[in-house]
């Protein structure tokens, strides 16, 4: 099962902290990859927080295809982090030739665009790059968005960190918000796109457990939005739903939980807002999840959320001190990086609850 975790911090953290959060959570052979999405970046991307950052892995040919496309569409290269890999023998990693983490400036005509138009431009660019790279299996593009960096690789998380020199804390990569996961889909085909966290137009999400309504979700989502593609992992459905409810429908966040884990009819019928809740159950029945799952997500405004399935079959815990809030599927990870926190303040959200951590690390909790 995937172990998932996230950190929201007042001061930037480097990837080694994230690894220390994740590695103790390993049970048996489940650490088969490493994936993280860093947001609110510091380090070498600090000067370009408002410029879209492209995260991808590819072959040499793939790199050329991407550069050609970006040039042809008037994106100007601004800054780049080129990891210098540590290729010491014996590392368990299935590395690709090129890792691209590159800031671009928008095309000139973007100056006249609304925010929504810019968002669509970035999404369409990522989808176009994905299509180009997919054609001859030349690479994988994970995110293209301001102030967002995605790193994913197959192998042992600790070795992956060695390969990318993440243990060295060299200051290149740092962020105030990180979501991570350490498993490369051990149950199904090992595909890089299947590793969460996933990112879509400002929304980041990872989830553990089996999405037993994956087929339903997928059938429904496939025609809802052009960004809902791939479905290499059943967890992508959780992100699509979050994006759909909050971004497309523009509904308040509270309705995300009502959508994925609707209340039983018996309870809905007792509530004042039953008309709304029944409407959601009717129209979004196919976005319900009904298996064991914990979700950790980050919203475009930087707020981090977590919740779990309607039976709390997959639990989650939130630990915090004055400088950092950590969400994790297993408490041992939090104990590693926040050993001195007040454990009585830890939050174990119940099956009806959503926990939100804002940029000031203020915690808001509500029940469905």
């Amino acid at each position: 099962m995937c172990r998932i975790g996230s950190i929201k911090s007042k001061t930037p953290v480097q990837p080694s902290v994230v690894l220390r959060l994740m590695l103790p959570q390993q049970e048996g052979h489940d650490n088969s990859g490493f994936a993280m999405v860093m947001q609110d970046l510091y380090g070498i991307f600090s000067p370009y927080k408002d410029k879209p950052l492209l995260s991808l892995v590819c072959t040499q040919k793939g790199n050329r295809l991407v550069e050609d496309y970006m040039d042809a569409h008037n994106f100007t290269k601004l800054a780049e982090w080129l990891p210098v890999p540590n290729k010491q023998p014996g590392l368990d990693i299935q590395a690709m030739p090129y890792y691209v983490f590159r800031n671009y400036d928008y095309p000139e005509d973007a100056a006249l665009m609304t925010e929504a138009e810019k968002e669509n431009l970035l999404l369409d660019t990522r989808l176009a790059l994905r299509k180009i790279l997919e054609k001859d299996n030349q690479g994988y593009v994970y995110s293209f968005w301001p102030d967002v960096l995605t790193l994913k690789e197959i192998g042992d998380p600790s070795d992956i960190a060695t390969y990318f020199r993440l243990w060295e804390d060299n200051g290149c990569l740092a962020a105030k918000s990180v979501v991570a996961q350490c498993r490369q889909n051990t149950n199904y085909d090992i595909v890089r796109y299947a590793a969460h966290p996933f990112f879509l137009q400002g929304y980041t999400l990872c989830a553990n457990g089996e999405n037993t309504f994956y087929t339903k979700n997928k059938n429904f989502q496939s025609s809802l939005h052009r960004g809902y593609i791939g479905f290499e992992s059943d967890s992508q459905c959780f992100l699509n739903t979050l994006h759909y409810v909050h971004h497309e429908l523009k509904w308040p966040l509270v309705y995300y939980k009502h959508t994925i884990t609707p209340l039983p009819f018996e309870e809905i019928n007792r509530r004042d807002d039953r008309e709304v809740l029944l409407g959601i159950r009717e129209s979004l029945a196919n976005l319900e999840i009904n298996g064991p799952n914990t979700v950790i997500g980050v919203l475009p405004d930087g707020n981090m959320i977590t919740c779990c399935d309607s039976k709390k079959l997959r639990p989650v815990v939130v630990g915090r001190d004055d400088n950092m809030a950590v969400i994790s599927s297993e408490v041992c990870g939090i104990n590693e990086i926040l050993p001195n926190r007040d454990q009585t303040r830890d939050i174990y959200p119940n099956e009806r609850e959503v926990v939100l951590i804002d940029n000031e690390l203020e915690v808001t909790r509500w029940k469905q």
Binding site: Y244, L249, S283
Partner: protein, 543 residues
């Protein structure tokens, strides 16, 4: 030797031969009295025997005229194999045996096409039996406990809007309802299908209705029952219990005079309206109620004189789907103030997806359910040729409709209900579960209900005499002497018990796949041992 011609009908021409053991018979007459078809009669048989009762041969010839029970060799009063004679015989002296050499089907068209009730006898092979629930939660995720967890087994009935069409507005961080949306009722995914008063005896209909009342009032299982095209008792129309009934309107409009007259006095809205376009057992044919069954009270409820009631194959006003939406759906919606879902029932057909697509795209959002009735559906009366040679299996049709909606981003906007052979082999819960995984929101059943009341008809030609008015079980007849055979309370209890078991069995299938709400469209839960079925339905093939 009897004087016979070779064309004369003999017992061996009939589908069932009465096996009679005179040595066990006490001549009580119960069998003859109970055979509603007049297929057996008391007769006298000449018996000659030569016996010797001495130590040395002293043959004595004895002649006796012995009373016996004799089968009638007739193409009208023939044995249907119902077995009522066997049931009432206190001494196991009589029973019907299937005759493999029967010629009745060939010979009995002297007065036109053969008519009968029941289900198709030729297309009884079942797709659902080649599908199993193969995706069981094993280590990847936990199974649920059918006895301990709570399950939310409800299905929508009514027009569901696309999310962006919902009349919601955001106010103070909350969604509020601004404006109206079509009525949607959340009901149990098992609908008691439309068997009319007339097709059924009033008492049999009442038994089904009583079961509905009990399931709702006592067990909180919101089963709904469709009235069938024959009207409803006036008292029920104006009672609180109308909320459990879906009133049907079909091409004959039978009973609607009374329904319309009752509308001002209705205390509550009905559960829904079901417009019947066609029926799986006899697609393209209208309803048929033989004169024999139009008793005085049936004529009164339907508002017709005593005559064979053949509904036209088409609704008189129906010219196109769009027109049906404009006229039938809108007028039915308007009649109940747009508070009651109006659904439509069609026979499964190669055209089902086209109809569903068209209704999904209707701008008025007026159709609240699409009921597809498959070839294995039952009927009270139809031409045998229709029963056996027309129709369409329902399983792939439900799947096709579901996928057609999904492709357009309209999944679930018109709830799909599948019927026609659900529970044919006894387990309706398994059938329902598989249909739901393939995309149905729920199922409807009819035949199984009367089987629970005591109907012994089957797909191998047993009984199927629903059209004759001579139903030996008192279910499909208006003959008061036959109706008296039916224990209404016991019948209702049987249905209630079956549905309670259905509910428990449904949970027994939901739990292993780890779901507490209905897995509508969760086709990954199913696998098939038949590659063609797997391929057609888009599920896994296993062997």
């Amino acid at each position: 030797m009897e004087a016979v011609k070779t064309q004369d009908i003999g017992v061996n021409d009939l589908n069932w031969i009465i096996e009679y053991k005179p040595e066990r018979c006490t001549m009580c007459g119960s069998c003859v009295a109970s055979c509603s078809f007049g297929a057996i009669k008391a007769a006298v048989r000449r018996q000659d025997i030569t016996v010797s009762e001495e130590n040395t041969p002293a043959p004595v010839h004895k002649h006796s005229a012995r009373p016996v029970i004799k089968q009638v060799a007739s193409l009208t009063n023939f044995c249907r194999g119902c077995g009522i004679c066997q049931k009432v015989c206190p001494n196991n002296a009589i029973m019907p045996r299937r005759n493999p050499d029967a010629r009745r089907t060939l010979l009995s068209r002297d007065s036109g096409p053969i008519k009968r009730g029941g289900r198709t006898n030729l297309n009884a092979e079942r797709t659902l039996d080649k599908i199993v629930v193969g995706r069981i939660s094993q280590m990847t995720d936990p199974s649920l406990d059918a006895a301990r967890h709570t399950f939310d087994i409800r299905a929508p009935f009514g027009r569901v809007l696309g999310t962006k069409e919902l009349p919601f507005a955001v106010e103070n961080g909350k969604l509020t309802v601004k404006g109206k949306k079509p009525p949607v009722r959340w009901i149990y995914p098992l609908i008691f299908s439309d068997m009319s008063i007339g097709a059924l005896s009033t008492r049999a209909w009442e038994a089904v209705a009583m079961a509905v009342g009990c399931l709702n009032e006592k067990y909180d299982i919101p089963v709904r029952m469709s009235s069938g095209e024959g009207g409803m008792p006036a008292k029920l129309l104006t009672s609180e219990y109308l909320k459990y009934f879906i009133i049907q309107i079909a091409s004959g409009h039978f009973g609607w005079n009374r329904i319309i007259q009752a509308m001002p006095y209705m205390k509550t809205d009905p559960a829904g309206i079901l417009i019947k376009i066609g029926q799986g057992a006899k697609p393209g044919d209208g309803g048929l109620l033989q004169k024999e069954k139009v008793a005085e009270h049936i004529g009164a409820i339907r508002g017709v004189p005593r005559a064979t009631l053949a509904s036209p194959p088409n609704h008189q006003g129906l010219y196109s789907i769009e027109e049906s939406v404009q006229k039938m759906h809108l007028s039915m919606n308007a009649a109940f103030g747009f508070r009651v879902p109006v659904a439509i029932k069609c026979a499964a057909s190669s055209t089902s997806v086209s109809v569903y697509n068209n209704l999904l795209r209707d701008p008025y959002k007026i159709c609240g359910g699409f009921f597809i009735d498959g070839i294995q559906g039952g009927t009270g009366a139809a031409n045998e040729i229709s029963l056996d040679h027309t129709g369409h299996p329902v399983v792939s049709k439900i799947r096709d409709c579901y996928l057609a909606a999904a492709k357009q981003g309209l999944t679930g906007q018109i709830p799909l209900y599948g019927g026609g052979g659900i529970g044919m082999t006894g387990n309706a819960a398994a059938d329902a579960f598989k249909m739901i995984c393939l995309g149905a929101n729920g199922v409807f059943v009819g035949k199984i209900l009367i089987q629970l009341l005591g109907c012994v008809g089957n797909e191998q030609g047993r009984c199927n005499a629903c059209n004759t008015g001579k139903c030996p079980m008192g279910i499909c007849t208006q003959n008061p002497r036959l109706v008296k055979r039916l224990d209404v309370d016991k019948g209702a209890q049987k249905i209630v018990d079956y549905v309670l078991a259905f509910d428990a069995e449904l949970k027994k299938l939901m739990a292993p796949i780890g779901n507490s709400s209905l897995p509508v469209g969760r086709s990954d839960a199913l696998v098939s041992t038949d590659a063609n079925i797997a391929n057609k339905l888009g599920i896994g093939y296993v062997c």
